[in-house]
């Protein structure tokens, strides 16, 4: 290789290596876009964050890209939702990432000092009485979709702050300052969304997948059933017939379709029952301009209100 070309390559490689390590930044990988957002807010200038899920896919189905392996290998921390929701990609990636600070674990998904599990301290709903697969693809530790409720944002942010402070104690005060600033924005926003969602209280609805427990608790919507026959098992004609009957009997006029599921079944259900469909994201970035936790939460509440025929107060 000629000398100028060699120098150019060497310079490029060393620049790449120096980018994230400049000014002692922690390299963090976060599994979902809203975790990327919250980590950036809490970590501030001290972190450089890479994401994995794009936001438009089902969290249970994120593609395992080898490019994630190199990011995890170099990472100082991995931030994840936990409760096994990332079982289809995070375990496999950690297993080959050769990062001794974050190892794949069959129970907790990630084990080691660099693992920041955002589910710690979350009041987990829908803990199954039985984990038999005859009930579908259950999450044995409970419903992991707590990120869909705005009032879990503060707990997520606190877990991230605690995790970053554990890994980088010299910046603990800065993380706590950032956390305080973020909570000062997030908590009033959550209260505002709760006020907006008050109009939804008591409404009955169905969702495509069983992931609305926390959003249901936040809004007061009673999600009575799912389009899926069982979690992870697609609808059968018999189940849909029963569901139509149930919706008519109970006056269900709201269908929450998670953005990544096909629209036809919910449209058919809506036509049969006179219900309206609210299309929701299960992660930030499911829709344009929803890359932050706050915007993701706002968009979902707005979609529910519109479908329920309620005006924004």
């Amino acid at each position: 290789m000629k000398k100028p070309a060699f120098l150019a390559v060497a310079l490029a490689l060393s620049t790449l290596a120096a980018t994230a390590r400049a000014a002692g930044k922690l390299r963090v990988v976060a599994t979902t876009p809203e975790l990327v957002d919250i980590t950036r807010r809490v970590g501030g200038e001290r972190v450089s964050v890479d994401g994995m899920a794009r936001g438009t896919e089902d969290i249970h189905q994120v593609v395992m890209r080898p490019s994630f392996v190199t990011k995890l290998n170099k990472a100082d921390a991995v931030v994840f939702l936990g409760l096994n929701v990332e079982h289809s990609f995070l375990w496999g990636l950690l297993d080959v990432a050769a990062n001794p600070r974050m190892r794949a674990d069959f129970v907790k998904t990630c084990i080691g000092p660099a693992c920041i599990d955002c589910s710690e301290g979350i009041a987990v709903l829908d803990k199954p009485a039985s984990v038999s697969r005859s009930e579908g693809e259950l999450h044995p530790q409970g419903n992991p979709h707590y990120n869909m409720s705005p009032d879990n944002g503060p707990a997520i942010a606190r877990n991230i702050a605690r995790g970053l402070s554990r890994i980088s104690p010299e910046h603990k005060e800065e993380f706590e300052r950032n956390l305080k600033a973020y909570l000062a924005e997030l908590e009033p926003k959550a209260a505002e969304l709760r006020k907006q969602a008050a109009a939804l209280k008591g409404l009955k609805a169905v969702s495509y997948h069983k992931d609305m427990a926390y959003l249901g608790r936040f809004t007061g919507i009673d999600f009575i059933d799912t389009v899926e026959l069982k979690p992870g098992v697609g609808p059968t004609p018999a189940h849909l017939t029963e569901l139509v009957k149930k919706m008519k009997e109970q006056g269900v006029k709201l269908i929450a379709r998670e953005q990544h599921f096909e629209p036809k079944t919910c449209e058919w259900l809506a036509a049969q029952t006179g219900a309206r469909v609210a299309v929701l994201g299960v992660m930030a970035n499911a829709f344009p301009d929803t890359e932050t936790f706050i915007r993701f939460s706002e968009k979902n509440i707005k979609a529910l209100l519109e479908a329920a025929g309620k005006d924004l107060p």
Partner: protein
């Protein structure tokens, strides 16, 4: 009456406060009990992850005859051993008996991005070659893999992998084994051998994202066996002792390139898109007469496969696989196998697959071999998505 009401009004707040304090104390006592409770788990209890895979099929083919096959009941056990090591075993129960398909130890905390795996493992050669039968996109293992690799890349030995500290994914794997290939009859795992009779593997693998929805993976590898000792079978040749022992010029290389293109649209996750995988292998070895075990010429033969699997959603996956395999002794004889398959996944843990295969070769007078298979697979217990099998 007024006095009684005044006394009551004066006493109520302290009563309420006392009740509240009692309630708080009761909650505190319950919390202390919970926090102080001994753990339910014990280090002496055997708590690995456990899973069983059941695979059965019906095949109908040659001479218009069919058979139900119990292919396998595969028991998977895995657990961390300590902070530095994990282990797993795959025990295969099939019509031929019970076989330890894998039993390996793998490091989890080595420095310099190194990972060491040892024991009975599936060597890192190619892509489909190290897939278990149930993970293949087709019902029957492709001929190129059966003939050139010797089934799955099962090997007793040691592998070390290094993940390069580059911005892009790049790994190098070196391995040393008794032999490579579970059905490889060239060597016996139970027989000790000199160092130049082991099989040594080198592999490089890399990956590139081509935008958000497309990706390409490339692997290149070669398995080298420096020497092999073949002793003439005098009971067949009738030659007087000593039997001719051939070692010189018996080196073998099995080399390959594998290229995998994936399309994974934003909305589909792992259930939408397509996977197109192509692998080409070259086998270069001195062949031996199967009866007399006397040496024949050195032969270079080629084989390859190309498989495309469409992911139409959670349930349906159609695809085709084309396999071209030269005969190891006579590369002029080429067998072409065309397979079409349709898989239906009622859930992530159950699969039904229908496949049709047509095999032909260029030997004059040879017949086409048609077969239809219906495969049914179910997985019990522990379930994770592994990186190597994606």
């Amino acid at each position: 009456m007024r006095m009684a009401l005044l006394i009551l009004a004066a006493l109520l707040p302290p009563l309420a406060r006392a009740q509240e304090a009692d309630r708080l104390k009761a909650i505190e006592e319950r919390l202390n009990k919970l926090e102080g409770a001994p753990a339910n788990a014990s280090l002496s209890s055997f708590n690995p992850s456990l899973g069983v895979l059941l695979d059965v099929n019906y095949t109908h083919g040659k001479d218009d005859k069919g058979t139900f096959n119990f292919k396998t009941a595969e028991l998977n056990i895995g657990a961390p051993i300590d902070p530095f090591l994990k282990g797993w075993a795959v025990i295969n129960f099939n019509p031929a008996g019970v076989e330890v398909e894998e039993a390996s130890l793998k490091t989890t905390s080595l420095p310099y991005n190194l990972t060491l795996t040892g024991g009975r493992l599936f060597a890192s050669f190619g892509r489909l070659a190290h897939f278990h039968d149930d993970s293949l996109p087709v019902t029957k293992r492709p001929r190129s893999l059966e003939n050139f690799v010797g089934g799955e890349t099962q090997a007793d030995g040691l592998e070390v992998q290094h993940l390069f500290p580059t911005p892009f994914y790049l790994t190098a794997t070196l391995g040393a084994y008794n032999k490579l290939g579970g059905e490889n009859g060239r060597a016996d795992n139970a027989v000790a051998r000199p160092l130049d009779h082991f099989t040594y593997l080198g592999r490089l693998a890399t990956y590139a994202d081509l935008g958000a929805d497309h990706s390409l993976e490339l692997g290149i590898n070669s398995a080298w066996t420096p020497k092999r000792t073949m002793v003439e079978d005098v009971s067949v040749t009738g030659s007087p002792a000593p039997a001719i022992s051939t070692v010189k010029g018996t080196w073998r290389t099995l080399s390959g390139v594998d290229l995998t293109y994936r399309y994974h649209p934003a909305q589909g996750g792992i259930y939408k898109g397509l996977v197109w995988a192509t692998e080409v292998m070259q086998n270069n070895e001195r062949r031996f007469d199967p009866g007399t075990r006397l040496p024949l010429d050195r032969v270079r033969a080629y084989a390859g496969l190309s498989a495309i699997e469409f992911k139409l959603g959670r349930q349906w996956r159609p695809g085709v696989l084309v396999d071209l395999t030269e005969d190891l002794d006579n590369p002029h004889t080429l067998t072409r196998t065309y397979t079409g398959f349709l898989s239906w996944w009622p859930s992530e843990f159950q699969r039904l697959r229908l496949s049709y295969s047509k095999a032909t070769n260029n030997v004059p007078g040879s017949r086409e071999n048609h077969s239809v298979a219906l495969q049914w697979t179910g997985a019990l217990g522990f379930h994770v998505h592994g990186f190597k099998d994606r």
